[in-house]
Symmetry: C2
Subunit: 234 residues, 2 copies
DNA sequence: AATCTTTGCTTGTATATACAAGTTGCCTGT
DNA sequence: ACAGGCAACTTGTATATACAAGCAAAGATT
């Protein structure tokens, strides 16, 4: 029933930070000091400190000590989820339509984004994802065929590009940018929105161990989509 | 020079997962098995496994074992940063203009968002943040005065609301929503954009231990702002 | 006075060990 | 055949210990 000892120590540290006993950048007790104070071994005190470092509450430096992290650096996170999971998670019907699936030489901007030579062949797919019959995301994706040679042979009605890529080239790093845009007439008609209606556009670039795998441009109708995020800090 | 032993074990596990030796939901060797295989103690093998669990690569269950996590659940994160830090981080000039700072009774929507009674007095501030003289964010914020009674007495030219709130009511949880919108004429003129130009709008709600602290609506000109995120998974 | 060395404190890595607690399957007694 | 309990294996918590490595300040040497 009782909380483990390292949790007690974590709570003690957090409580003291929150009530201002130790302010920003102040030094907190060392591992040995905490071990003495709580009557536990150094490794147990260390675990409490280590977990708070992972949570971004503390920072530590070998030889110097452990300090309260600057509060403003605790930036919150916004979760970007797989659209298929997201739609199904809402209990709605998920559908996809494959509009394009072709091989073409990279122009300058694609070559830079994928880290390949200009003119190198890359895979391009364009998919329209729908929720309960209404479009929610237009996905334009460029894939590095050197790293994922079988990409264009896949059936994306069975498995989304994101799911397939996650399997064959588990990503180790991702970068996102989000912006608000107005789209051209063709895109507007695909998304079934009025021209002039704002859209949320996410640029997503993913790396695997061996290089840049894929570059995707995800466009959501502003009227029909919200990107939601949640982070528990404690 | 050599990597620590627990890092070697992590790399070995990740490599085997990536090349498909252990697929989704497959069981990976137990702590004791890894300890034997790598000629280390169980605690060292345990550390490698624990860190991979934290990274979302593995899941474990007491009594059963450790398993490869489902790959699709590795959602990426998008970092939402403090606008002042973000502007200064780009090496640009940051300026703020306080447009409103007043006390008013909560209407229905504000009352729900802040978790107070309709008609309860809440603080409202409207700030315009600028980068190199051009507006980049219009911040409309409602604050629960029951939790932060001195909010309206602050000088937000010295310290942004976000910074002040971080100090007096360290937040334990935050929720975000991002959408694309077109704004009214008044807002457009404040942001110095054409009417009809899309904007990125972030709804940000923060909790402290004692309740909902603040509800902010952050509006960025779509032409001048991108929300950037980055996550290292390894 | 300036510089090098030592000493002590800090965190980082690693081991060996012990017991607790959850899960599974086998095996025994009825 | 079934139920109960036992044994084996798993992860979870905790301790005691050892040495490595980074840092800072006091002290010794030049």
């Amino acid at each position: 029933m009782a909380a483990p000892k390292f949790v007690e120590i974590k709570q003690h540290l957090i409580a003291n930070i929150e009530r201002g006993v130790w302010r920003e950048h102040a030094k907190v007790p060392s591992e040995n000091a905490l071990a003495g104070e709580f009557g536990c071994s150094r490794m147990t005190a260390r675990r409490a400190l280590t977990e708070l470092v992972e949570q971004g509450v503390l920072v530590r430096s070998q030889g110097q000590g452990t300090f309260v992290a600057s509060l403003k650096s605790q930036g919150s996170m916004l979760n970007i989820r797989n659209i298929a999971d997201e739609v199904r998670g809402r209990g709605h019907d998920y559908q996809v339509q494959v509009l394009e699936q072709l091989r073409l030489p990279a122009d300058a901007s694609v070559a830079i984004a994928l880290g390949v030579a200009v003119g190198a062949e890359v895979g391009q797919t364009r998919l329209l994802h729908s929720e309960d019959g209404r479009p929610v995301q237009l996905e334009l994706r460029f894939v590095n065929l050197a790293l994922v040679p079988d990409y264009l042979e896949q059936d994306f009605y069975r498995q989304t590009p994101h799911e397939y890529l996650s399997q064959v080239a588990p990503l180790t790093e991702a970068h996102h940018e989000v912006e608000a845009v107005v789209v051209d007439a063709k895109t507007a008609s695909l998304l079934e929105i009025d021209q002039g209606e704002p859209c949320l556009r996410i640029h997503r670039r993913t790396w695997s161990r061996s290089g840049t795998v894929s570059f995707a441009r995800l466009t959501h109708p502003g009227s029909r989509y919200r990107l939601g995020g949640h982070l528990v800090m404690d």
